[in-house]
Symmetry: D2
Amino acid sequence: MKGRKLLMIPGPIEFEPEVLQAMSIPTTSHVAPNFIESFGNCLDMMKKVWLSEDGQPFVVSGSGTLAMDMAASNLVEPEDKVLVVSTGYFGERYAEILKRYRADVTILKSELGNIVEQNVIENELKKGGYSILVFTHVDTSTGVRNDPKILGQLGQKYNVLTILDGVCSVAGEEIRQDEWNIDIVLTASQKAIGVPPGLALLVASQKAMEKWKNRKTPVLNYYADFNNWLPIMRAYQERKPSYFGTPPVNLILALEVSLKQILSEGMDERFKRHKKISRAFRNSMQALGLSILPKSNDIAAHTLTATYYPTSIDGNLFRKKLNEHGIIVAGGLLKEIKTEYFRVGHMGAVNRNDIISTISGIENALTQCGHHCNLGKGTSTVLSELS
Amino acid sequence: MKGRKLLMIPGPIEFEPEVLQAMSIPTTSHVAPNFIESFGNCLDMMKKVWLSEDGQPFVVSGSGTLAMDMAASNLVEPEDKVLVVSTGYFGERYAEILKRYRADVTILKSELGNIVEQNVIENELKKGGYSILVFTHVDTSTGVRNDPKILGQLGQKYNVLTILDGVCSVAGEEIRQDEWNIDIVLTASQKAIGVPPGLALLVASQKAMEKWKNRKTPVLNYYADFNNWLPIMRAYQERKPSYFGTPPVNLILALEVSLKQILSEGMDERFKRHKKISRAFRNSMQALGLSILPKSNDIAAHTLTATYYPTSIDGNLFRKKLNEHGIIVAGGLLKEIKTEYFRVGHMGAVNRNDIISTISGIENALTQCGHHCNLGKGTSTVLSELS
Amino acid sequence: MKGRKLLMIPGPIEFEPEVLQAMSIPTTSHVAPNFIESFGNCLDMMKKVWLSEDGQPFVVSGSGTLAMDMAASNLVEPEDKVLVVSTGYFGERYAEILKRYRADVTILKSELGNIVEQNVIENELKKGGYSILVFTHVDTSTGVRNDPKILGQLGQKYNVLTILDGVCSVAGEEIRQDEWNIDIVLTASQKAIGVPPGLALLVASQKAMEKWKNRKTPVLNYYADFNNWLPIMRAYQERKPSYFGTPPVNLILALEVSLKQILSEGMDERFKRHKKISRAFRNSMQALGLSILPKSNDIAAHTLTATYYPTSIDGNLFRKKLNEHGIIVAGGLLKEIKTEYFRVGHMGAVNRNDIISTISGIENALTQCGHHCNLGKGTSTVLSELS
Amino acid sequence: MKGRKLLMIPGPIEFEPEVLQAMSIPTTSHVAPNFIESFGNCLDMMKKVWLSEDGQPFVVSGSGTLAMDMAASNLVEPEDKVLVVSTGYFGERYAEILKRYRADVTILKSELGNIVEQNVIENELKKGGYSILVFTHVDTSTGVRNDPKILGQLGQKYNVLTILDGVCSVAGEEIRQDEWNIDIVLTASQKAIGVPPGLALLVASQKAMEKWKNRKTPVLNYYADFNNWLPIMRAYQERKPSYFGTPPVNLILALEVSLKQILSEGMDERFKRHKKISRAFRNSMQALGLSILPKSNDIAAHTLTATYYPTSIDGNLFRKKLNEHGIIVAGGLLKEIKTEYFRVGHMGAVNRNDIISTISGIENALTQCGHHCNLGKGTSTVLSELS
């Protein structure tokens, strides 16, 4: 389908060949001893990747939106006051999901490209009555990055549960679930986790599980209900057979391969690599005279970068030219400025060569679109950053 | 994981090598033109496999339970009267799902191994007020098969929508959605559809879509809400890009391969093959003196067979011995008789050799477990059936 | 290409899924450290599979005929007297190869379906002057099996080198190279070794290497010359890089997987399994009233069986019907009786299910071709043999 | 094994994912109708890739050296006068092969990095008596490229057969076998043909086949003898079954995929792309102050480039650093200057991104090894070349 082109969108990303190969292992039974072992290994490894010793991991067949939905539908009871800190498309989506489960949602929207100031959030929480604080770690639509450590502290201070939407961050951005007091960290497989799309993953703290256990009303979403999945996860953790719905066997085997690779790199090393690569990418964009969407580098994601096109060029043509150079990037997602920017994913198995190829492709495509840039400026910037 | 052993459980099943290979194609973007084409092809082909010209197909990342949940959560409004005809574990699950969405559920349970008589259902519908009739085509827990044609006629006569849970039947059992007046036919990928687990699939009639469009209350399950998925499916049908959640790219490519194979066999030919193989299997079991769970052959599934162990033997030991002969079958699922029977799937890519291997393995395992049987009796039965 | 049909020809055979998957690992450099390790592992493991502690293993890109050619061209000098014991097509081919290298070849041909009596061979060797004794362990054209132990003893007694053509025997038939005094044991990958075709493999005793080292004339075949390959094999054995011709990287990785599986089964267990399965197959053929080509069971191969068609039936039609039942077998190879018999391979990853499927398919195909047989007779025979 | 690192050695190269996937298709019989079709397609397509309408294609299991050996052993009779034009390691190897078959070999060696002047060759041919002229199109050891058009003209003028060793050129460098009067064009699969190693390929003109048919002495190499393979190739060309040695089924299926891709690019387009990419690579090396091994750009290969290390750096360290940047290149091969240069392959599926990644990696590795270079100089050069 894509041949040897580089898939540089913010998910799905380029996957390691070993992960892709695991996808085609002849499917075995979901209660076969070696599959139980593999699934159990995945759950054990997730806790290490999430840096959460006491959390309860879940892996369910579905997209990242299902992971968001699971967190919402299990933790929220009608009338619960929930504060959503939104930095873009996915913050708004989360508010919508929460409302579906009859939460009393207050949404604090950042300005475009910015985060919501800590004191604004704190002032809102001070008003009291909130039981949950929800935020998007990295909004895939803008590349803006929140600081989960601060939000975790606010959660603790004001005694609200915290839900981190980490679809575009887990296994790429630094997250220390236990240490930072985050109650739910959720994600999808096709981003920094490095597995083809089809898995919703989350780890819930014991505090989150307590809130769920003490619900007075039933979970409104049947498929997402922890009641269905908790016994299954526990059984796999104890390496025992069980059944609720057939797990996506091949994706789980691929997940086992990828989590092993992630842990073999080491979480600290991995966070560092994502920081280094993203800084090199941003600096190169800036060296080419392009502006990134986030207001400052301090709040720019390490997993993707959203960059404005120069005003003179046609974005569709630009991405088409890039594609001809073998680089696939994503267009804008935020409705109001959809045609004004593009997004480049740089997470998971991404390496130096992917970045250099992408930047050099961007240089050529810009030129082809009639934007004058100093050919080689971006590439030499990345070269000095990544040497 | 399973090497060259035969996976003869009622899903996941043995998949065609071409389908498995499609799983490891390097993942492309969900908006890449050739992926849009593949997804669109899947939706077009589903209508042919479902024999539904005017239906609206949906493919969403999730298990079969999600497909059940989608049908329920989208069609049911609180207080809707729903009649569930249950023939086992999955009928009861469906009732549970429907209640979650506040349906006023009446459940007609069959005796173990039997269906609910047509007149019993009709008497219930006559009482009036029902808006939906739900039934499991083939209950994976019992191997009992309902007749969708009759249930579709009842639906039409009493003006209720019909939902067919076809998780263990679609693409194996005869279903003519349009002709038989079934409003929703749902399934999962890992059964007769022949694709590794991870896809929930359904086709909804225009009448079903009407009921959904005219809802007065929001769909309670966010992830499953047709509002999210309908624009996406329509876009792929029109070969246009769109985004709600990232589709499971690799599974969709595998689905395209499998649907092509299914249509190349031809639906009538496929229904015939499933009938022939299942009859041969049942007859062989009976020739060995074993009893099948369904009360009569007329209501026995063509996609799996549930068979009682001889009373003298230990079921776990029996399945272990079978496994040593290279045959993986499933134990019982129905709580009350869980240890008394086993289940063998025979659907999708299943062929003559799989059946003969399985039956001969059963003969050997029975003997090893101390059950006297005329060695070769089952095999020669299948031989004369399948010659 | 073949879908789920069973490939029951005497090579290529059904391969383990893990072996096939190794074929598509992205090719690395032939001097990459991990490839050197894999190639080295293959050479080490070959010595264990061959039961030859002091032998020199070789793996070269080519077919089984190349392995025959390597042994011949390296060991033979013009005018060397070579005794070939032929039991069919491949014995005659070996004589032809040897003549090409100007050996003075004497060929002792067995009657069709028989071996050459030991005393006939011994009488010939007694005449003296021979330096090499060559024999086909199992002739793929006839399924006749020689006894390498006896031939090895003759070799020792008369001080001639022994070359065992094990294309259709190594890793299936019992061979104890050191203990039985066989100087060269050669084979190809696609038979009992269990790897797709493309590798010529052999292990040469130190005595054989001595004869080669002391040659007075150059090896006539450049590509096959040990001078080219010995330094390479030694380098890989010592885990050092080296280069003569690019090794078939992907096939070597597949070989590593297969040799590991073979050793994990254990050689004695493997020999036993091949004996058991072949006896069951032959007995079933005989129970169906068919005659096997080998004169007696004592000299019938354990890796394949050549069986005469009943005189009444058309062999092509029979194999076509078998193919429709999902079983691919081979026709005759021996020119004089090509249309009178067929060949079934049962080696490597072959299992009980393959055998039962094949026999039951044969029963059905015979019946379809108008040959009366007691349907189930063959299958019940194999059932009692393999229980 | 190599993960996502780029394999930039002069073979094996980076293969297209579709080609690698074909490697793991379950192996079918070498006489299965669809395999016969695939093999036949390969032979038909080879003639188009070779631009030889009347040639006889051969595909045999073996390495590139086997292809060289086949040409030599089939065309040469003892005492034949053969002129070898050598530009490095592989020219000398060819002389060695030819001598093995008792050719009376005259070798014209170029200076290091140069070709042999046309008039020198012509003067030698003028002496008369020659029946064959052999040359390496691109010597993998030096990256020096001969002009086959000129050598073909000389062949015609002096009525000698011409053998082009195209191991490192076919499907990358321009070759017009018919038009340019080349009698044998041979290669291996793992270079510009784009298939994992294990196939020897050649196309022989009718004139070459005539010389072979009129031999007075037998071909000395049994395995390579056209007598064995010609009937097989003809059978596959006519889509008929046949057997000499088992063909490497999986590699042939991969070859079919790759040849289709090659022809879909178009030969002229492909030659142009190789020229453009190699020029960009060479210019970048020169921009970095490095010297290439070939004396001038006019005789530099388009499929690989051999470049001298700066004298100040340690070549092993340099290649190790490059490897850490995810780029695998090859060291020197020519004994006399083995430690003084490195080789980079740029053929087959190679693209812009591979080249830019490699050059930028070289820039960083040079710097890390203490060689001062203007970081970004090489990359910006390639950028302007490939824009």
